[in-house]
Amino acid sequence: MSSSTPNGTAAAISTLPASSRAAESLQTAIAALQKLPERTRDIFVLRRIEGHAYRDIASKYGISVSAVEKHMVRAVQHLAATV
């Protein structure tokens, strides 16, 4: 996003030294996701990786928004304990 300004952003933005570490932690996080119950995992992926709205996920599964939130809380808590 930052490289699109016409007056040249490249000089201002240094490269991210954390990127390899980030890739590593993504692998760990994905491994941790696989240990979750399938529906909890699917809901987390729909929200966190694909960016669907909570209400859209709720209607997709025919459950309430607060039920979607409960799946998300369970996923975050599990991931936080692992990552």
């Binding site: 996003m1 930052s2 699109s4 300004t5 007056n7 040249g8 952003t9 000089a11 201002a12 933005i13 991210l16 030294p17 954390a18 570490r21 980030a22 932690s25 993504l26 760990t28 996080a29 994905i30 696989q34 399938e38 995992r41 699917d42 992926v45 729909l46 929200r47 966190r48 990786i49 694909e50 960016g51 669907h52 709205a53 909570y54 859209d56 928004v65 939130e69 998300m72 809380v73 369970r74 975050v76 808590q77 991931l79 936080a80 304990a81 692992t82 990552v83």
Partner: protein, 345 residues
């Protein structure tokens, strides 16, 4: 949507990690921070809570930039018990561009002119942008939010800040539009970077404000030290009390009006010999009903005083009391100041 109100007792019963996860998800679901006061109370209640919050945020940011390719692993390991699973993933990925464009990612995508709809690159961009947290304010609104590292960001009217913290790495933010004040929690190992209009401000334990107009970036340093990297030229290190303006004409550093930094956070604006034209432009940032100065003669009149940013009408009335001008309603959303009887200016 009606949401249950959180109480500290409820949060404590969940344990530190359960409460952190709940607060993070509620913040994500609401798109802003409705539990801000409760969050502060919870965070202060036990030193272990900050650690739990950091762990939850790390778990969340671990997925920054993750996309469809990273999910291949699920396809391979998926048990065949649910035959629709594969089709559902396919649908979900294809649909993500449309959904994101209709909700959170809009501002960033608009700013870049938008991705190619349906293209592979478009999906990638959308996924990356959705991974960011976007903090926004409406016109006339200002609010403070606490970030995962205990830094705070205060957004002025009609502003947007994208937050992309790397786990264990840089704290990177972008002022997408408007004006924001940053109070940075000290952490020498994790630079705090704010970019806007192609320039980057780097901070270490400090307080500063950034304002981005169409072509100009203004940084006011209240406390500490920041380094500003302009799009062109060498980085500039600022001292407290200084302001830096970076625009097409280059970079200038001068003495800042530091008091004005606190002003908008209290909902006021101070004018000191400001021209009426400039004062009206400033006040119009805060309101959907816009003031307009019709007469170039009165546009040059000067204004001094402290005014509420949420009451443009009162400002207009005050002007009409001290100067021979009158305020006329101009349609639904405009009020115009005109010379009264033609004798002003």
């Amino acid at each position: 949507m009606i949401r249950e109100v959180l109480t500290l007792d409820h949060l404590k019963r969940l344990g530190a990690d359960g409460a952190a996860a709940l607060l993070l998800v509620r913040q994500d679901a609401a798109g802003d921070d409705p539990d801000e006061a409760m969050f502060d109370e919870w965070l202060a209640a036990d030193p272990a809570h900050a650690d739990a919050w950091a762990r939850a945020c790390d778990a969340w940011t671990a997925f920054d930039g993750a996309g469809a390719a990273d999910l291949e692993v699920f396809r391979q390991s998926e048990e065949p018990e649910e035959p629709q699973a594969r089709a559902r993933w396919g649908f979900a990925i294809a649909a993500s561009v449309a959904v994101i464009a209709a909700t959170g990612g809009t501002m960033l995508l608009d700013r870049q002119g938008g991705p190619e709809p349906g293209s592979a690159a478009g999906i990638q961009v959308a996924a990356v942008d959705a991974a960011k947290r976007m903090l926004t304010t409406a016109r006339g609104e200002h609010r403070s939010l606490r970030l995962a590292d205990a830094s705070t960001v205060t957004l002025n009217t009609d502003s947007a800040v994208a937050v992309a913290f790397k786990p264990g790495g840089e704290r990177r933010l972008e002022l997408v539009r408007g004006q924001a004040f940053f109070k940075v929690a000290q952490d020498k190992t994790r630079p705090f970077l704010v970019s806007a209009n192609g320039q980057t401000v780097t901070a270490l334990g400090t307080q500063f404000e950034v304002r981005a107009d169409a072509s100009t970036l203004r940084v006011v340093l209240v406390e500490g030290r920041v380094s500003v990297a302009p799009a062109r030229g060498a980085p500039v290190v600022m001292r407290p009390g200084q302001q830096l303006l970076a625009g097409p004409q280059g970079v200038t550093v001068s003495v800042a009006d530091v008091a004005a930094v606190g002003d908008w956070q209290r909902g006021v604006v101070t004018f000191k010999g400001t021209t009426l034209a400039a004062a009206v432009t400033e006040l119009n940032r805060y309101s959907t009903s816009q003031l307009k100065v019709d007469d170039p003669g009165i546009a040059r009149l000067t204004v001094s005083g402290v005014f509420q940013t949420n009451d443009a009408r009162r400002f207009a009335r005050t002007i009409a009391e001290i100067y021979p001008v009158r305020v006329v309603p101009a349609g639904d959303r405009h009020a115009a100041a005109r010379a009264a009887g033609g004798d002003a200016g």
